[in-house]
């Protein structure tokens, strides 16, 4: 890998129109939120010759896959493969806190150049801000786009016509449901979710459920994440997009009208009508909604792909299933970018290529993340690195451990959930 580490393009936008949060950090460099985090990761230094030395420092949010930390495992695999080269050794720095705290920390660290991060794992929603501020390098213009990345996922790396990152792991809203709960209410498998389901179908099913004498007072049709945090933004944008309302164009210009906003809000209100949704949804995040679903308090759940793996230990196999979310679903995920001031950009790019290779993406899927490459889904990709695979939890198809707490029927008063609350924190996009 002999690419130069030069920052290309983007010089015209650097320094212009810095978002408020970035400016806040510029003016408050001494504050903890802007200094690159507690513990003070020692900067590798920017002195002469730093580019020849390691390690390649990767800053990322906490890996919470519950699978032995697949990101850490992938980096260890890279290190084993470059065992003879000190300059190519990589180190993962995990940032504490929620998504917004991580964003502030990364912004501050990159603005001040104090943390020495070479690679940053950015939530897809942060790409325009970091690109516009000149904090991450565009992918070299002469580097061909890897067509194996799912197109819509690749597009999350773009800002104003240039790609700034490679997609590491993605995410998308899905509809989970409880076949056992539905059958108990007389809804046969032939009337359960299909790929063609619309919100009309979902609402009809929820209505049938509500009429069932077997459903309790504390039970409802569905739930989702409506607490005041990023999960609410995701759910609102899904309702807006389903109603045909877009808020901004590709370049970030606001495009909606007041009438369109009302249309989008009315769609969200219809979905969240008190006869349909669990009342606690308005204060629920990913963990709480998963617990409500596992306890049988709802038959339907909008959630992220990691829940498919998480449910395996919470419910018997015939008690949950998943399909497309009716209407339009929103993408999540993280992209890997090279910091503009990294003195070892060539090695950083090589590491990113490794972390987003077919093998690594297969490992990520096996660990419960959604992979970013099409080949991983049509089984034409190369297998997960064997030594990484060995550290991951048993594959989804493997025999299940004997289940505990497995109600044959949906519990009347949802006992199981309390014990599961707080247990699963997956690689989802929004964080409380």
């Amino acid at each position: 890998m002999s690419r130069s580490g030069r920052v290309r393009g983007n010089t015209g936008t650097r320094g212009r129109a810095l978002p408020a949060a970035a400016l806040g950090c510029l003016f408050a460099l001494v504050s903890a939120a802007c200094s690159g985090g507690p513990g003070g990761t020692a900067p590798p230094g920017k002195d002469a010759g730093a580019s020849d030395r390691g390690p390649i420092v990767v800053a990322s949010g906490l890996d919470v896959t519950g699978s032995g930390g697949v990101r850490q495992q992938l980096i260890e695999e890279w290190n084993r493969r470059h065992a003879g080269s000190e300059a190519e050794q990589a180190k993962l720095v995990e940032l504490p806190g929620g998504a917004d705290q991580q964003r502030s920390q990364l912004l501050g660290a990159l603005q001040s150049g104090s943390a020495g991060y070479d690679v940053v794992n950015l939530d897809i929603t942060w790409i325009p801000e970091f690109a516009e501020a000149g904090l991450i390098r565009p992918v070299p213009a002469d580097e061909p786009v890897d067509r194996d990345f799912i197109n819509r996922v690749h597009r999350t790396t773009l800002w104003k016509g240039r790609s700034y990152a490679r997609p590491f792991n993605t995410d998308v809203g899905l509809l989970f449901y409880r076949p056992d709960v539905l059958e108990d209410a007389g809804i046969q498998p032939s009337r359960q979710p299909t790929v063609n389901w619309t919100w009309r179908d979902l609402n009809a099913s929820i209505k049938t459920l509500a009429l069932s004498p077997r459903r309790g007072e504390d039970q409802a049709g569905w739930t989702t994440q409506l607490k005041q945090y990023e999960g609410l933004t995701v759910n609102a944008v899904e309702a807006f997009a389903t109603a045909g309302v877009e808020l901004a164009d590709e370049d970030g210009s606001y495009t909606a009208s007041e009438a369109e906003l009302k249309k989008g809000l009315d769609e969200l209100l219809a979905r969240t009508h008190h006869e349909r949704i669990l009342p606690s949804a308005v204060s629920s995040d990913e963990t709480a909604t998963l617990a409500d679903f596992a306890a049988g308090r709802v038959a339907f759940l909008r959630h992220w792909p990691y829940v498919y793996g998480a449910l395996r230990t919470l419910l018997p196999p015939d008690a949950y299933s998943v399909n497309r979310l009716p209407g339009t679903s929103v993408l999540g995920g993280q992209n890997l970018a090279v910091a503009s001031d990294s003195p070892r950009a060539g090695n950083a790019r090589a590491l990113i290529e490794f972390l987003t290779s077919q093998e690594s993406e297969q490992c990520l899927l096996d660990a419960g993340f959604a992979a970013t490459r099409a080949s991983v889904y049509n089984s034409s990709s190369r297998r997960c690195w064997p030594r990484v695979a060995a550290t991951l939890r048993p594959a989804q198809g493997a025999p299940r451990p004997p289940a505990v707490r497995r109600p044959r029927r949906p519990p009347r008063r949802g006992r199981a959930a309390r014990t599961t609350r707080g247990r699963w924190r997956g690689p989802r996009t929004p964080r409380p």
Partner: protein
């Protein structure tokens, strides 16, 4: 549900999904949207027209970095 069926579902969903708004002011955008939408959902008798008017004004500012 077989794992193969799950990965097919996931693949299909990824090929149809949309992004949240793309803007350098994402932090401001998401705060504005969350606060107005949460107030609407928590209201006794939600007035979507009134919230749409306020949301429109604040989103316009947020996307302009104001």
């Amino acid at each position: 549900m077989a794992r193969a069926a799950y990965t097919q579902t996931l693949s299909r969903a990824l090929n149809e999904a949309v992004q949240r708004p793309r803007t350098p002011y994402y932090g401001a955008f998401t705060q504005v949207l969350q606060s107005h939408v949460h107030a609407l959902l928590a209201a006794e008798s939600p007035d979507s027209a009134a919230v749409a008017a306020r949301l429109h004004r604040d989103l316009r500012d947020a996307f302009e970095g104001k």
